[in-house]
Symmetry: C2
Subunit: 377 residues, 2 copies
Amino acid sequence: MPNRGREVGFEVVARRGQARRGRLHTPHGVVETPAFMPVGTLGAVKGLTPQALEEVGAEVMLANLYHLTLRPGIDAVEGLGGIHAFTGWRRPILTDSGGYQVFSLSHRNRIDDGGVTFKSHLDGASVRFTPQGVVAAQARLGVDVAMVLDECPPWPVSDAEAESSWRRTLAWAASARREAERLREGTPWGGALFGIVQGSGYEALRRRAAGELAALGFDGHAIGGVSVGEPAELRRGVVEWTAPELPADRPRYLMGVGYPADLAHAVDCGVDLFDCVLPARNARHGVLFVRPEAAEGAADGAPNGVLRIKNARFKDDPRPVDPACGCPCCRRVSRAFLHHLVRSGEHTGGVLATLHNLRFYLDFMADVRQAISSGPP
Amino acid sequence: MPNRGREVGFEVVARRGQARRGRLHTPHGVVETPAFMPVGTLGAVKGLTPQALEEVGAEVMLANLYHLTLRPGIDAVEGLGGIHAFTGWRRPILTDSGGYQVFSLSHRNRIDDGGVTFKSHLDGASVRFTPQGVVAAQARLGVDVAMVLDECPPWPVSDAEAESSWRRTLAWAASARREAERLREGTPWGGALFGIVQGSGYEALRRRAAGELAALGFDGHAIGGVSVGEPAELRRGVVEWTAPELPADRPRYLMGVGYPADLAHAVDCGVDLFDCVLPARNARHGVLFVRPEAAEGAADGAPNGVLRIKNARFKDDPRPVDPACGCPCCRRVSRAFLHHLVRSGEHTGGVLATLHNLRFYLDFMADVRQAISSGPP
């Protein structure tokens, strides 16, 4: 168990097959794993106050270094006392390094062995991210878990491109790892640093990449480069190939995935942490995750487990979105009212739906944890 | 005190000059007056859950018959158990009759002595509002306080136009009053019905109109036809002329006003109830109401008592919006974070700002009530 001082560490408390139940210790508290991390890109989950996110049961929030660098800037957040003081979120925070956003959102990236220079998607300003600078910025934010800078190739790429991209990402990871050591000696930062495995959809490369990354001694390891347009079967393959190659005594994090069934599959492969915009984004579009029992009788071509609340069938439906759910939406209003608000474009509809979907994901992970600790090993 | 059974009534518990502190009893509870009613046009204050509106201290919510008639329709709300069951708001609800919206939002109004026929601003569907139908619809919604249908003339109009418009509104009020009696005999509805004084900016007409309306025996009386573009001094004149002519034993309601200073002035004239979209709308635009102490040192051409949170001066300001405020925004985040969220167009910024501004108005009214009961009579 990599436990640095009292602050950062991971313990596995139960196992079932490859699945594990654990506890991630961070400077701002403990996260029960497997855990889902709601996405607060700019420091808040869209439409939710920090209090509302706490009340719905989130134990950790994800924010994004790329976005915070462009607005309001690392200097501003550091000057205000760090990311926790800035956002009002008092529990653990993990920041994505922004590698994914550099390649998906910014203009005119120029990548070299030392890092990447890009134009902000907001105002075209030139910004440079280096492996060392990205760790230093996250340390200045005071995050609980920092992520290395990686190159996230689009899908598909050739095996040669995937290989050369991985070589660069691995070199960046080594630089980031050294920078983190330096920062832990010289600054008050006590957070964890996670490496990221890339390798596109190539099994041999993914397996080798996992081992090469693990050799660098990170506090945890992420599976990156998925949810970039690849088929679902390939994404599952990547998880199946990569997770077992990552050290069992460190947390494993699958980035940007996904639907509940994807999470369950990854947990069975030994993954501990997840983030995804799906529950909140779907909520704003009126797509509500529900238990299969609640979806029955409301199917309208939607996959089992989803209510499309804009559908006319809900106009007069007095039931809560999911009668078994304890979220603020289900405790208080009907499908009919949510239908009315979402159809009318009222922000309250998106807020109530977001609370529901996040609670669904958080409850789902709680059930997963319970199943791991109560079942046969 | 007009107390119909146990349910509806108004008691004055303290006076200071013309200002009064009172309690409005309704089927869904008591409202301490003078009171500010947040506007939930479609059944929810924009961005807030019913729980959040309760927690910020609102005792009564306003909704709008015009909007609810067009979407989702009175049948739908009634079928779902009424407006409280529909919206999840458990405290008193007052509905505006929609007269104002018929004249400001709809297309091709055709008004006659029996009512008004108009095209929905949503889909052009033809709808007819009559004085009787509007009361019946509010009774079917199960509102605590219903408002009569009135004709709200634009500003300015000639005195002859104001007079003839008032004659029609008064005749409608008499019809509405009779319809309410009929409904109270024949249906379970136990809410109050308020009449509305019109008369544009003409003192003699306003004074006479108040007396003519009062003679009809409403449970309460509203001052309508203000905040339609007239100068502030004229609006204050209307309040000064009208309020004293309205029965002292019934609640007085100033519709659609205004800034805190306007509310204070009206309270001094004997007004008890207020609604206005200003605090919530300004919040969404980043205009925060604060105590003068909090506004000092932050003036940027804004009137005293306001922070324009988008202003660059707040980018690095670690203080709460108003250090003396107990709202969820001020208890948790800085001006800098709110600046960041509002500038970034994040919905959470509007939600936090709305909570703050509503709390400011609700605290302001609590202070007003305290001043009335603690001062010399």
